[in-house]
Amino acid sequence: MINTIPINYYIMLSTILFIIGAVGVMARRNAIIVFMCIELMLNAVNLLLVAFSTLHNDANGQVFVFFIMAVAAAEVAVGLAILSMIYRNIKSIDIDLLSKLKH
């Protein structure tokens, strides 16, 4: 099976996924959905790192993706703990209500 996909296709795919995530961050008010869109953006970058790693036949890119996954897991754990604490205090996770960081 010969892999004949130009790297530009991967760049375009990652760009599109990243921008969908960015639009989601701007267009939604539910803090959890915003969080999920950030995960989508992280994954777009990961995909491009793996594509370039395969292009240059260099394992460092894939190791970086591995570390990004570890950091993303830590970020999600802390972020969701903060969100659930906010929900317990003000019974909402609408980011427009949280914009002043007080209630």
């Binding site: 010969i2 795919l13 639009v23 959890i32 869109c37 995909l47 395969t54 036949n57 894939q62």
Partner: protein
């Protein structure tokens, strides 16, 4: 098959599905459906990793993202009892502005990347770096110290999450 190889068909189908599911994540009103579409997007990205012959990362991606992180999201959404009725909506004008900004960003990025060099990926058979054996050698050789630091980071995140999640600290 129209002059395309199997790899190219796979790339096209997986890309189309990934973009469609990603759009559904943003445009679905119900948060639970949003999470499920994001899981499907992650499966498509794992498929892309397999096409790129990064087998270790494909498995780790499914285990960590689809298995752990998305279940955490689903748990929190169900704990908060979020559904379509409680979903806060932005005004139409700010949605339109967000769409415009996204479109402009897309045009700028695609325009600037269009002139990039046309490079073909290596033959799939020639690239064996994504296998567990080769990746493990790099990870536990060159990147051993960052790997150990990552464990401290995860421990700190775990302690932080428990501290934040506790009821009231007297």
């Amino acid at each position: 098959m129209l002059g395309y190889t199997i790899t190219q068909w796979l790339f096209g189908i997986l890309s189309f599905l990934a973009i469609m599911f990603a759009l559904m994540v943003v445009f679905t009103r119900n948060p639970v459906n949003s999470v499920l579409y994001l899981v499907l997007t992650f499966f498509c990205i794992a498929g892309h990793y397999l096409v790129l012959n990064a087998q270790f990362l494909a498995v780790v991606h499914i285990v960590v993202y689809a298995g752990a992180i998305m279940v955490l999201f689903l748990f929190v959404i169900m704990l908060m009892n979020l559904n379509e009725d409680t979903e806060p909506q932005k005004t139409l004008i700010s949605k339109i502005i967000a769409g415009c900004i996204g479109g402009v960003l897309l045009v700028v990025l695609v325009g600037s990347l269009k002139g990039a060099e046309q490079l073909q990926l290596h033959q799939a058979g020639a690239s064996q770096i994504g296998l567990v054996k080769n990746l493990g050698k790099v990870l536990f050789g060159e990147f051993l110290f960052p790997f150990e630091i990552a464990s401290v980071l995860l421990l700190a995140a775990m302690v932080g999450a428990i501290m934040l999640g506790k009821k009231e600290i007297k």
